[in-house]
């Protein structure tokens, strides 16, 4: 069987597969400051993201964990995201989220060449740029990031769950 399909190879690079098979920071965070769940109603992927802020510096994400179930792209993106934002400030995490989102959706629909080079600060997360070529999978890659945005937004303090369409509702 030949596996020479550039788009496919780009989507499922070994680092991505490695994160999906062995997700980092996977599990529950007992003393979470905030919990947010992301749900992808069309495919059933669901992940929960938990953050703990540094007691000495409420801006700093001292601990980050996630759990849930999703496809390899969803899991890899969540795993790579947690390694990237741990130890960062709220603002830094929010900025990374913006960069990641833009990498996948900016100029979407135009020729691939029009995709701007992803910012260096995304590090390994840049490997997920291949998802652009699979429009149906973009929401898989952004699920964890939607949860992050929710967790960092104002009302996150009262713990919210939301679906990817962004309709927030109080957690049960």
């Amino acid at each position: 069987m030949d596996f020479n399909s550039p788009d496919f190879e780009e989507l499922y690079q070994s680092i991505i597969l490695d994160h999906s098979r062995k997700p980092r920071n996977f599990g529950e965070l007992p003393e979470a400051s905030v919990t947010a769940s992301g749900d992808n109603p069309s495919c059933g992927d669901a992940i929960t993201l938990q953050l703990r802020f540094d007691p000495a510096d409420a801006q700093k994400l001292a601990e980050v964990k996630f759990h849930g179930d999703g496809c390899s792209i969803c899991m890899a993106s969540a795993s790579m995201m947690t390694t990237k934002i741990k130890g960062r400030t709220r603002n830094e995490a929010e900025a990374l989220r913006g960069s990641f989102q833009s990498m996948l959706t900016l100029n979407h629909g135009s020729a691939d060449e029009a995709a701007p080079p992803p910012p260096k600060e995304l590090g390994d997360l840049r490997l997920l740029q291949g998802v652009r070529k699979f429009p149906q999978r973009i929401k898989c890659a952004t699920l964890a990031w939607h949860a992050l945005h929710q967790a960092l937004s104002e009302d996150a303090a009262k713990r919210v769950t939301f679906d990817i369409e962004g309709k927030g509702q109080p957690a049960r």
Partner: protein
């Protein structure tokens, strides 16, 4: 029975003759939407090239032709279902709209607080949410006939305790779009009649795949979509037994469906026109007519057996692979589709790799059966669904693909 040349039939479907991602397309997603043969495409083109005008309004030649074509499609549909009369056939936008019409208009009039709406756990969201809305609106209660785990079979031993005289309506699918279960619809309708419950059969997955006779089934309502049975999108059918349509008030209102309109009141036509407000999908009906002719020309029993043989073959070969969780009946008594999960790969990854690497069109997700998937502890599954234009070689290709997908996602563990 005459020998059917399935390969020749396949050539009627130009869309199947193409490459995707550099490989010949293998279309295994007909349960989501079937493809159209040339005969259907030609009928639609012919209609637009020669006969189109609005129906029922004009008195000129083209309007007469369009009206005749539209009403001929209704008569043909009645015949296809063995309905007693063409007046029992309402054209809608699809299965979903047909069920919404029944739940809103018939249900709104006849279902009251304290009544029970009985469904099954197999139902597509289209045959669940309209009833859930009705229950919320009226204060009626929802009950579900449970599914016996991965087998996809209904737990009919519980029917006695569920199908009680409080049940006002019993709505169920003929063939499950996820589990491939074939429900004993005539038996379920007979049981419902014993308690005076009105029945609705969701025939979305059976209309083009299985013989269907509404009088033999004994249902009050039966619904399906044109696009799943070789016809155009945007058209559906609601069969309603005359007595049931008569007791259903108008739903959407507007042009075509009235007898007389005054500033403050109006009177409405009898069924079926009472339920067809506005300009209908005339070309859709013309296409459906051609689709029904095509299907009956091949023979629905033969199609059923063909698709079932492919599904059995797929089921057996997937089982032999190992590391595969298979949904639906284990005894081969299934319709022409197979849903499965791989131990090592998520359904999305399966579908993406099948597409990009093998040219296979599969479905992945919860197939609009979210509560059922939840009950089974499954977030999403992959589904291969077959039609008479599919071949045994295509099933074998699916198996090769699944074996490669297993290897790929296992690698490095």
């Amino acid at each position: 029975m005459h020998q059917i040349d399935w390969a020749a039939l396949r050539r009627d479907f130009p869309i199947l003759n193409q490459d995707v991602h550099g490989r010949p397309l293998v279309y295994l997603d007909s349960a989501a939407s079937a493809q159209r043969p040339l005969q259907v495409l030609d009928a639609i083109t012919h209609y637009y090239e020669h006969d189109h005008a609005n129906v029922h309004r004009g008195i000129h030649e083209l309007s007469n032709r369009a009206t005749a074509a539209y009403e001929a499609a209704r008569t043909r549909t009645a015949q296809f279902l063995n309905a007693a009369s063409a007046d029992e056939i309402v054209f809608t936008r699809g299965t979903t709209e047909s069920i919404n019409l029944v739940a809103s208009a018939w249900g709104g009039r006849h279902v009251k607080r304290g009544d029970v709406i009985l469904l099954t756990e197999l139902e597509h969201h289209a045959n669940l949410l309209p009833w859930q809305m009705l229950a919320q609106r009226t204060g009626a209660t929802l009950r579900y006939v449970p599914v016996l785990g991965d087998s996809g079979l209904l737990d009919l031993a519980q029917l006695d305790s569920l199908l009680t005289p409080e049940v006002k309506v019993f709505a169920f699918t003929h063939i499950s779009n996820t589990m491939a279960t074939i429900n004993p619809v005539a038996e379920l309708c007979r049981r419902a009649r014993e308690v005076g419950a009105t029945t609705l059969v969701d025939a979305a997955q059976s209309a083009g795949h299985h013989p269907l006779d509404v009088r033999e089934i004994g249902c009050d309502f039966l619904v399906f979509s044109s696009h799943k049975i070789l016809g155009p999108t945007g058209l559906g059918v609601l069969y309603g037994r005359a007595e049931k349509l008569d007791e259903t008030p108008p739903w959407q209102t507007g042009g075509e469906m009235i007898v007389s309109v005054d500033w403050h009141q109006a009177s409405f036509k009898p069924a079926p026109h009472r339920f067809e407000a506005g300009t209908p999908h005339i070309a859709g009906a013309v296409g459906l007519h051609a689709a029904l002719d095509y299907l009956d020309n091949v023979g629905r029993q033969a199609i059923f057996e063909h698709d079932q043989a492919l599904a059995r073959h797929a089921y057996e070969r997937l089982r032999e692979l190992g590391g595969v969780r298979l949904l639906g009946p284990t005894d081969g008594n299934r319709a022409g589709l197979v849903s499965f999960l791989l131990d090592d790969a998520h359904a999305h990854d399966v579908v993406t790799m099948a597409d990009v690497k093998f040219g296979l069109a599969l479905r992945g997700g919860h197939h609009c059966n979210q509560p059922l998937h939840r009950k089974l502890g499954v977030r999403s599954s992959a589904r291969a669904s077959f039609y008479f234009y599919n071949t045994r070689e295509e099933v074998d290709l699916l198996i090769d693909a699944v074996a490669e997908i297993q290897k790929f996602f296992c690698r490095g563990l």
